[in-house]
Structures are given as structure tokens and as C-alpha cells.
């Protein structure tokens, strides 16, 4: 032990610890990760539910209860549907790390196969929205302009006009929408995660949702144009005002200092 503690300041110590930690994580992962090969079609569903239940009991049950009935730490999952699981786990919000005003989006813990298994298990507890198929959320051919109007009516009040996010009460917030996949946006509208209200297909049709997704891809994608230059966060006049003060007036004052400064004098000989 003495030897070990003597070497803990060795330059390579951190690397060794990191390797150990990685090995341990990997070992645990393989221990807990289920075999991913599905069996025949008719048994696949029940098998997925079975595997999903195992994952659920390890990762979720402590807050949501062993049967998904909910505890004081987490809501009931009966009837939330597979789409809700796919959204919550697929965006890394679940499993939650710590309580707070809101569960943030973070690194995803499970692979898609595991998420599907958990979703299948939760869906088996009570009927709810299913995970959408690609043709339900694929915005190809949708009307981005109509989507913009729908977005401004239903979404912009919380998420800002191009989906940059905004504040809610008591530290809660509507998250930024850039980098969120089309499927997850669709699922969020469908299921209403956390404090977001839901927009079920009965009041906001599938076509409406596609239009909104098309609009978001147009104005908030990786390659969305900001014709005038830097968008300064795309949050309106506050950042513009800051920019005008710091870079606008700031550089003009720097120029004024140069204009009014004394010119270098010749050295006295």
C-alpha cells in the first residue's frame, strides 16, 4: 500500500487509473448488457419485453417502481407509451442523474436495441403512443412555411422563434432544439415530456408535425443560413445590444483613442 501511495503522483498514475476505470466499466457493461440477438419473430416481442424488464429493473425501477407504478421520486410509466421511453432514454434524459428543476439532455446510456426493449416493456404496462415509423416524421415534401406558422403558434413561445430555447418558471427551461433528431422532435410533440404539453395527433396532425420538423430543419439545422452574418445566438435584441456595445462602440472608442493620441516624439538627442 505504501508503495502504491508513493507512486500516486507519478505522471502516468492518472492514465493507469483511467485504464482501470475503463476496464471496470466495460466489464460491468458486458455483465449487464443482454445478448442482442433476437429470436424468431413471434417470440421476439415477448423476449424484448422480458429483456426490457431486466434493463428496467436495473436502471429505472428505483425511481419508477418495480412495476412502473411510480414512486415519490418518479412518475408512473403506465400508459406513457413506447414513444415516451424512446424520447426520454434516447435523448439521455433518462436515467436521471440528480434531482433538479428539470432533467437535462445528456449522453445516451443505452443503445437503440436496449431502448427498444425497455420501450416494449413499458408499452406492455399500458397502451400509449408507439415509437413512430420513419415515414411518420420524415419531413420530405412537407411545407416548411406552414410549419413556421405552426411553430410560431405552438412552440416559439417557449422554444424561441428558431428553437434556441427559453426560460420557464423556477429554473425550468425549454431546451434548444438544434441537434435533436427528427424522430425525437416528433416524439416530444406526441408525448409532452416533463413540463412540455403534448400535441397529440388529434389536435396536431401528423402532417402538421412534419411541417414543423421541415421548418426546424430549414432554420435550425447544421447548415441553416444566417444571411446577415453571425446570428449572435439567435436570441434577439439582447445579444445584439451587447454586441453593439462591446464590439461596436468598443472598436469605435479604440479608434478614437488612436485618433486623439499623441504621435510618437523624436528622441531627444
Amino acid at each position: 500500500m505504501k508503495k502504491l501511495s508513493a507512486r500516486r503522483r507519478h505522471p502516468l498514475a492518472a492514465v493507469v487509473v483511467l485504464l482501470f476505470a475503463l476496464a471496470a466499466t466495460g466489464g460491468l457493461y458486458t455483465a449487464f448488457a443482454p445478448a442482442s440477438k433476437a429470436k424468431a419473430d413471434d417470440t421476439a416481442q415477448s423476449l424484448a419485453i422480458e429483456e426490457g424488464k431486466k434493463l428496467y429493473l436495473v436502471g429505472c425501477a428505483s425511481c419508477h417502481g418495480t412495476g412502473g407504478e411510480g414512486t415519490t421520486d418518479g412518475p408512473s410509466l403506465v400508459g406513457v407509451g413506447a414513444a415516451a421511453v424512446d424520447f426520454q432514454v434516447g435523448t439521455g434524459r433518462m436515467p436521471a442523474q440528480q434531482p433538479g428543476a428539470q432533467i437535462p439532455r445528456k449522453k445516451v446510456k443505452y443503445n437503440q436495441a436496449q431502448i427498444d426493449q425497455m420501450a416494449a416493456y413499458i408499452a406492455s404496462l399500458g397502451a400509449g403512443p408507439a415509437i413512430p415509423a420513419t415515414n411518420q416524421y420524415n419531413p420530405a415534401g412537407a411545407d416548411a412555411a406552414k410549419g413556421g406558422e405552426l411553430f410560431r403558434n405552438n412552440c416559439a413561445q417557449c422554444h424561441n422563434f428558431t428553437g434556441k430555447g427559453g426560460a420557464l418558471t423556477h429554473g425550468k427551461y425549454a431546451p434548444e432544439l438544434q441537434g435533436v433528431s427528427n424522430k425525437h422532435i416528433y416524439e416530444a410533440m406526441l408525448t409532452g415530456p416533463q413540463n412540455m404539453p403534448s400535441f397529440p395527433n388529434t389536435t396536431m396532425s401528423e402532417q402538421n408535425k412534419k411541417d414543423i420538423i421541415a421548418y426546424l430543419n430549414e432554420v435550425n439545422g447544421e447548415k441553416s443560413a444566417t444571411p446577415g452574418g453571425m446570428d449572435l445566438g439567435g436570441i434577439g435584441p439582447v445579444s445584439e445590444g451587447l454586441f453593439a456595445w462591446i464590439f461596436g462602440l468598443g472598436s469605435l472608442i479604440a479608434v478614437a483613442v488612436w485618433v486623439a493620441a499623441r504621435t510618437a516624439k523624436a528622441k531627444k538627442s
Partner: protein
Amino acid sequence: MSSQDIPEENLPAERAAHEHGRGAVSVADERHPFADPGLPPHEHRIQDVDERAAKRSERTVALLFTVSMLATIGFIASYVAIPVEKIVYVFPIGHINALNFALGLTLGVALFAIGAGAVHWARTLMSDVEVADERHPIEASPETRAKVHADFKQGAKESGIGRRKLIRNTMLGALTLVPLTGVVLLRDLGPLPGTSLRHTLWAKGKRLVNMNTNLPLRPEDVAVGSLTFAMPDGLKEADENFQTEIAKAALMIVRLEPRDIKDKRELDWGHEGIIAFSKICTHVGCPISLYEQQTHHALCPCHQSTFDLSDGARVIFGPAGHALPQLRIGVDSEGYLQALGDFEEPVGPAFWERG
């Protein structure tokens, strides 16, 4: 000044008349313990003593003016050559309009170079000898003052305005009244308010039309935790007065578990937990619709007034003065949601006659 001794010349008042001092020089007194040594002697710049340096400055100025000319040519070339809709990626700015970027940069350089050239010219080649200019008091001399006063009195006296009261008073009356013509003319800027702020398009039997789909809503469409916006049946976006009507009629529809609704009237005015509130904030009229479905709070994005939709939409935070008006709704014979009348109080911001 290598020594830390106090040099003789630094002693107060003893250097009253500085050797090289120009301009005003004063002696020390109670108010100013240290005498003003006068303007420091003029020091020459490098350009003043070194002709080569001056030449260098001249070339710099000329270069700047030349850069400006080139930038102007660049501006015109960009205007002609770059299509107006072209988007390019410029690191680190992003995907931007090429024409805007090119025109802005060339214009900026063309202007900045002129300015920089002129300033560099002034700073390095024009005389930099500081000159003192005398100030003269702003106040007039006593003689001038007396003369003006006397002239004015004489003029006033000659007009007889002090003596002929009738003229003075009628003139003042006329001058006071004549601006009223302008005020009167403003009357037709707008109609009188009347009771228009008290009424909206909602009336008994008007169906609630979903603004997303333009279809009338059925109770089973509206899920618990969902948020829907509705307008009165018959209103069309292309209508002449759409903006003015929707500014009052916009409706926010949510559904709560009936057991979660604390306010009895709210429950009664809804339909199986479906409740309809005015979307227009009672503070200054922003469309309030940041609905948190778990807390049942609705927040205004403009000024953060927060309303509790499970408790009669009463204000629980922020600058709004009263609850959101609720629209009484029911279901018609065909199973569609309908209004059971207009709002019972004016929607939107409060005003003097609101009561």
C-alpha cells in the same frame, strides 16, 4: 532624473516663469499650491526631424487612399458579379449571404482606409504645435446688457402693449384658441372606444376551431396534458379584420383531470376537465401560452406573469393584475366543442373603463 533628491526647480512657486513655458502661466496661491508652469515646450516628432520618416508617412497615407480606391472597385465588382441569393460558408461566421459579406467588407475597407489615411496624415505630417486660444466670457458686458434692456423697454412702450390692455388680452385669447383647430382635427384619428373592448367574436353556439388543422374540436381530441389553440368558427385568416378579431378571440385549451381543478367555477365552465382560457395576457396583451403541463402554470414570455390554470387562472407571479378570462364551453348536438357565450369580462390588458 537619476537622483531622488528634490530638484530645485520642482519647488512650488519658484518656477513660476518656466523657461520654455508658453501660454498662460500663473503663480501659486492658496487655491493652487503649485504654480502653473505653462505649456510644456513643443517636442518634434520623428517626421518633423527625419525627412525619410516623413516620406514613409506620406507613402503610408497614399497607400491607404489607394486601398480605398481598390476596395470601391471591389464593391462594384461584387455588386455586379455575386448573385443576390448566394450563400457561402465563412469560418467562423457561418453560412452567410455572399453578397452582403462582400459588399459590407469592401465598403467598410473603402471608408475605413479614407479615414485612416486622413488621420495618419493629420497625426504625422500636419503641424502638431499646440496652440492656446483665448476664451471670452459668454455673458455680455454690462453696457450691452443695459442697452438691450433699454431697447426692449422702448420697443414694448412704443407698441403700447402695456397700456392698451384690450388689445393685449384679446390677442392672448386669440393665440390661445387658434391651436385648438389643430387639436380638433385629430379627432378622426380613430373611432371612440364604445364597448368594443368588451366583446369578442365568441358567442353562444360558436364552435371551437383548432388553429392547427382548421377543424372544429371534439372533446375526445383533447388529451390530458395537451395544449391546443382555437379560434371561433367562421373566422378566416384572410378576413379583413382577422388581426383585430384574433387579438381578442384567441383561445388556449387545456385538459386537466377534473379532480385537479381547484376552482369550482372553472370546473363548471369547462367540459369534463377541458377548459378554455383567453390566450391574451391580462397584463399588456402578449399571447400567453407557456403552459407547464405538470404544474398547470401558464407563463407569459414577455413579462413572466404566471397563472395557475388549475385554480381559475389566478395570477401567482409577475405583473399581471387579474386572472385570465375563462370562456364557458360545452358540447353541441353533433359532439363538437362550442362556446356557451362570449367572455363575461373584457379580455386582454386592463383599462380605465374596465371596472
